[in-house]
Each structure stands twice: as C-alpha cells, then as structure tokens.
Symmetry: C2
Subunit: 102 residues, 2 copies
C-alpha cells in the first residue's frame, strides 16, 4: 500500500511531461491507463513487446515526470494516471494527447 515517490503537482514540468509522452511505448502505456483506470506493470506492458527492464525504465520516466502514480501492493505495482493533477496544472493537455493518440 506504499506510494512510490513522485513529484508534487507544482514541480511537474511541461517539457518533462511532453518528453515523457513523446515516446511511442510510453504513449501506449498512457493510452492504456486512460481507459483501464488502474493496472499492474505487467498488465500494462504485456501488449507492448519490450523487455521488462525496458518497461520498468519507461514506467520510471512517466512517474518522474509526474504522469503516473505507482502504488505498491504486495509484489505488484499498480499504476494510475495522475489525471487530476495534470488537468490542474496543464488544463486540457492530457485529454488532447489521449484523444490524438487513441
């Protein structure tokens, strides 16, 4: 039930978010999270076809940028989009990206 470290809302940087979203694999993760509400890392990465360590790297980029939140429960980690936080900070951005990608 532990929450992994993540930037505070006011520390989320636009260029970092854009960079995080500018990778096809990460964008796919985000689109998946937008429809599925919450997923384990395994669940998110299953369809993408990358090595699990590569995916772990992408999850970290997304988390460090403030795009996703990760909660550990037992040996699984559940990720959610920080949609509310992002909407507060950069109104409309996430929706337009997800709309454009999906």
């Amino acid at each position: 039930m532990r929450l992994l470290p993540q930037p505070a809302i006011e520390d989320i940087q636009l260029t970092e978010v854009l960079h995080a979203l500018a990778d096809p694999a990460r964008l796919e993760v985000v689109v998946k999270l937008a429809t599925e509400v919450e997923l384990t890392c395994r669940g998110v990465g299953e369809a993408i076809g990358l090595h699990k360590s590569t995916l772990s790297h992408h999850y970290r980029v997304l988390r460090d940028a403030g795009v996703v939140s990760t909660r550990q429960e037992g040996r699984q980690k559940f990720m959610t989009l920080r949609k509310g936080d992002l909407d507060d900070r950069f109104p409309g951005l996430l929706d337009s990206v997800i709309g454009a990608a999906g």
Copy 2:
C-alpha cells in the same frame, strides 16, 4: 515567396510533435509564434540566446515535425505556426501546450 518543404497534414505524427515541443528552446519559439503571428528566424531567436546554427537546427526540427511553416522571402525566412493543420489533426493539443507554457 518559396515555401520550404514540410510534411502533409496526414503525415504529421503525434510523437514527433510532442518531441518537437519537449525542448525548452523550441517551446519558447512556439510560444513566441503563438502571439506574434509571423516572425523571421532572427526575430524569433533573438531573445533565446543560442547560436544561430543551433536555432537553425531547432527550426528544422519544428518544421519537420509539422509544427511550423517556413516561407522564404528574399534573404529572410518567415515562420508561422501551422495552427490550423495541428488543430485539425490533434484538436486542442496546441492550445493546451501554449496555455500551459505561456
């Protein structure tokens, strides 16, 4: 009055656009273009404080991604945001990015 080569609307890729916007210098250029309608490369780059060849490189990235359009007139080049094209292809994206950055 020559228009420099640029991708067709349907060839504009979301990840490329995001990548183009994910650099602070390029984002500054875009924000400037959003308020000024049209500017020469010199005019855009003046406030940014980078070498002109570096700026030229950034202009190219923006143009290749489909974010800006460049028109040559005499020895100057005027850049404009491809706002209409981007709005058609990725509705709301540009506005939210500019709003967040500006």
